[in-house]
Symmetry: D3
Subunit: 240 residues, 6 copies
């Protein structure tokens, strides 16, 4: 039995609240149960130096956790003077994942930065960030279209993400913190609507995992993906 009483294939309640703050071109508060992440997508003219003159845009992400998003207070990275390895790894993952949603050639020389700041953490902050960040990204693109900053539509497809794992021998989906910290294996999967995989990152915690377990976890992720794409589509009023 899962600590939360959920079925192995049952997601937590997923909420996607658009227009959460008023300044960002896209602003989404995403909740996977008690995990809450504010995803703000900002549009800025110009691209990083290494992309200049290549006639394309860029999508990137930054990730942060408020110091008391967690059970015990974590040091503020701005105070420590650098982002930790975990933070850098997560924001690189979010950025790569969101770029799969966009045709950078059609974006023009603009950069969209998706800031994912964790207000409250209960496991799965990176998967919530990707899922919510994609909705904010679509809103930012729609804003650019309304402002006539771009002519064609750079949006390609929705991208969502969920964690799966082996908890006490059973494959489960969308691990919360108690499961996450006790799981034998933890895997984050980033998916497209047509069943494609963008990222698969599985890590053995206590013991190696095997091909059969990997397959069971991927099956769970696939099922969850359909629900996440539905939630994103509903939030965005896209028919699905």
């Amino acid at each position: 039995m899962r600590p939360s009483g959920r079925q192995p294939d049952q997601l937590r309640e997923i909420r996607l609240q658009r227009n959460y703050t008023r300044h960002a071109e896209g602003s989404v508060l995403v909740a996977f149960g008690d995990t809450q992440v504010l995803c703000n997508a900002s549009v800025e003219a110009g691209v990083p130096r290494w992309l200049r003159g290549k006639n394309q845009g860029w999508v990137t992400a930054e990730y942060g956790m408020l110091p008391r998003a967690t059970h015990t207070r974590g040091g503020r990275e701005a105070t420590r003077g650098k982002q930790g390895g975990r933070t850098l790894e997560i924001q690189r993952l979010i950025g790569r994942s969101l770029r799969a949603a966009v045709d950078l050639k059609k974006l023009g020389e603009f950069t969209i930065t998706v800031d994912c700041d964790v207000i409250q953490a209960d496991g799965g902050t990176r998967t919530a960030s990707i899922t919510g960040g994609c909705v904010a990204l679509v809103d930012a693109i729609r804003h650019m279209q309304r402002k006539k900053q771009i002519k064609s539509d750079p949006f390609k497809q929705l991208v969502s993400s969920v964690s799966v794992g082996i908890f006490k021998g059973t494959p489960v989906v969308d691990l919360d913190y108690p499961e996450d910290s006790g799981a034998d294996t933890d895997m984050n999967v980033v998916m497209t609507q047509d069943g494609g995989l963008i990222e698969v990152q599985g890590t053995a915690e206590a013991a190696p995992f095997f091909r059969g377990e990997l397959d069971a976890m991927l099956d769970l992720a696939e099922g969850a993906g359909q629900q996440l794409f539905a939630a994103q589509s509903d939030a965005l009023d896209i028919r699905h």
Copy 2:
């Protein structure tokens, strides 16, 4: 006339939402109109090195602004590798102000850190942080009492803060961003319930200000203080 149509002595709508996140011992989302700050008070055993063995506690604050709390995206301080001068100045002010609410001797060897993270900015983030942070601080102290971490009550008095300024020649209270960026003089006042002053920080922006203007601004702050203390008391269910 003020851009918002408010009277010179009229505060924006003040909201103080307690228990906003679930991990912090005190967690308050404070809103001064469109300015929203999440104030999380964390209790940790121990004190900074320079206070060890002095048989007292410590109250400190950290301040941050989410990158897209503002009209245009500001760089993430964790990415830039240090907190800017404005951030350090504000968090020092918040810490000093909140220490006036507490008898550090009665706090025991505990540190309460109040993290003030600006979700959305529209002027007055430091005054909102102090006003909301004080409520979170009281909640954290109450939590310590319930947990029997302290015997006597270290809470001394409520502390609140408001900005006042000279806008187009007229003294006004609780400046929002359009007023703040156009004011001739900007002053932040931190107050106690009995009419005492904790901090007075007035800055001439375009032109010097004079004693008469200073007096008018302090009068406005005093009036606003009574409303802020009422709002804090209501939120905390303290009779007033």
Copy 3:
């Protein structure tokens, strides 16, 4: 009684020694009693990036304390790898104050940086820095005029600063270190010759202060200001 035997409204001996070092366009060693600060004003062509093309100049300040300016050695900020919050706060205050002495539009695209380095500290280093820095700034402007770098005169008015406080219940002016560390309230006031206020920063140390005390402190500051302006004018050979 004050530890130094001074009257409540009595300043320490003020000295302003111009041309103290030979390279800077303005170089003043200022002493408020045993507090000694070397203020060097440097003229450089160009302005910060965010001011380019706006057809104006810039005045800024940097502040530092030699490691053994104080009773016990303080760590060198260059060795620690960053300026502390107190340093940043002080140099921002000095910069804002000195900008009130200058019409930036008439300065042309030049930057004047006033470096205030504390040789010996005995309380009031920031007020001495502003008072001495203003003299160095005037010298730098005069140098620019002699070199024909500017045509009109950007100098608007002298700016001086003094600390006031409540020490053992009595309002006093120009606190030295023993007073500063024992004061109930400490306030720094930055003034113009015509009685205008540029900055008022009052902080309750042990207990809140009240409007009557604030008024008494401002009266003291005003009186001191007249003496400081006279000292600056004498040093600069300006009739007053």
Copy 4:
């Protein structure tokens, strides 16, 4: 056809040269073709602060690339003042992978740090680092046993790693730089001798990948794993 002319399931020449430098307790130069990584395992008494008193050891890794290990010179991270996100991500992966080879409880309060420094890069530096680092780790453990620093044997199993990917539509193993930079999908797999998986990290580069492709890549990795374990065992004179 692969640029190197290799078969899809053909590894580059694998070399594992032990005792490469003389100071480290384990020192292995590993080559996957033209990719050369020096893996030095250092034994130090003590564990990180957060593990003290828990009666166990720790295994960690650090990764670096010599500035001219690549086609064009990359900036030295020590000069830039921090390790980049890619570096941190890789060294965290190496550390997690190598910990799967060791029973930390049996290691006692010792830390083994495996430094993986890339002398020459041609794709697959992280997989070479894990494969070579594991051999250095075993040598360091054997050294501890000879020195009687530990009584029981903390070594559990060999760990090896290989990259697989989809290059021009075909699943291939052990991608060199030309393949790596042109691959549609890139996946790093960390394995144990009994067919277990420690890490699976697959990334879609140009287009999503699908379950069938994932399976084909994992099959390739499994086959390569057997050859890598054989190479490690040969180098260590372990019968297999």
Copy 5:
């Protein structure tokens, strides 16, 4: 007697292995006995900002030590976030020394960076770096000539370096680590083929040294220089 059994004027075995890695324009593994340094010379178009438009090139060096090049593991400078004082001092010395080998005017607006990374340390890493780095530099220049990046030949003369010292009262050459750590005086000498001196850096460790000792050490360095120039010439196939 020297710990290694060498004669006072006897160098360790000197090896200079060119083309050690394949990407750098010049790549030399230099060994002074057990001290091994990889010297990679990289050619890049452009010069540092302060040299732009001066119609000349630049030669610079960076130095690093692999964490376990030494008896006990040294912290990785990239992890600590800065290069230490010893590192900076050494790389400045190497850069100054190598610039003596080149006519910067004839180099055109190119920068050659010589990275000296110590694979294994046994004393004399800076002298080995200069001696090996000069060979890598010549190879990089020859590469530029073959690529027609320059027309005239900027190479002026070979530069080599050796340490000399007073060990147990006797002047000796090319100190290894046991001698280096026990020497009374340690001196590094950088020389040109015609007997010129580029750098002389002598340091008294336990006791002052005298003119007679200085002379004896310089005599030893001169003799060693001839052998080092021969080794460099042989490696480069220059007749001598």
Copy 6:
């Protein structure tokens, strides 16, 4: 002819003003002509971690240059976030040199830090720092003796330093800035009273130098040393 009109063997006017500031245990303003350095020696209980329990003391130095000590303003190292290579090199040299003046075993577990801050620079700041720093060091030792912090006298001998160089073909002593920037060779020599050498650091600037020139420069340094020791002795009221 030297730009200053001095004879080749003529020092600039040397001044050593003791008790320059009031807090430091030793405080000396040293002037070599227009080069002025404030040398403050601070005594602190305890030694660096790596010396603890070894029953000895430590002497170290830190060096800084006020931003406008030079012709054009140099960036403040505290603002840039790190000490530059030149600074680190100089303060390491000063520290090593001053340690030659002291028997660390007799110093007890105390650290003396000599801060050398350049008020005005005109060449030779490091040699002035060593010469003045030694006088401040002696004062700090005398202070410790008066305070009974040490029983025996750790002072061994005076240490002084001077620069020598080849300027327009002629060996000269104590180079000022115009000479320093135009010299063919620049050498800093650190000496003891009995004719011993502590450091010899010679650098060819434009062209190599030869043994004869080295000898001539050392002769000049020796002569200057006698005058510097006399000046130090006079300042300290030591008979000589």
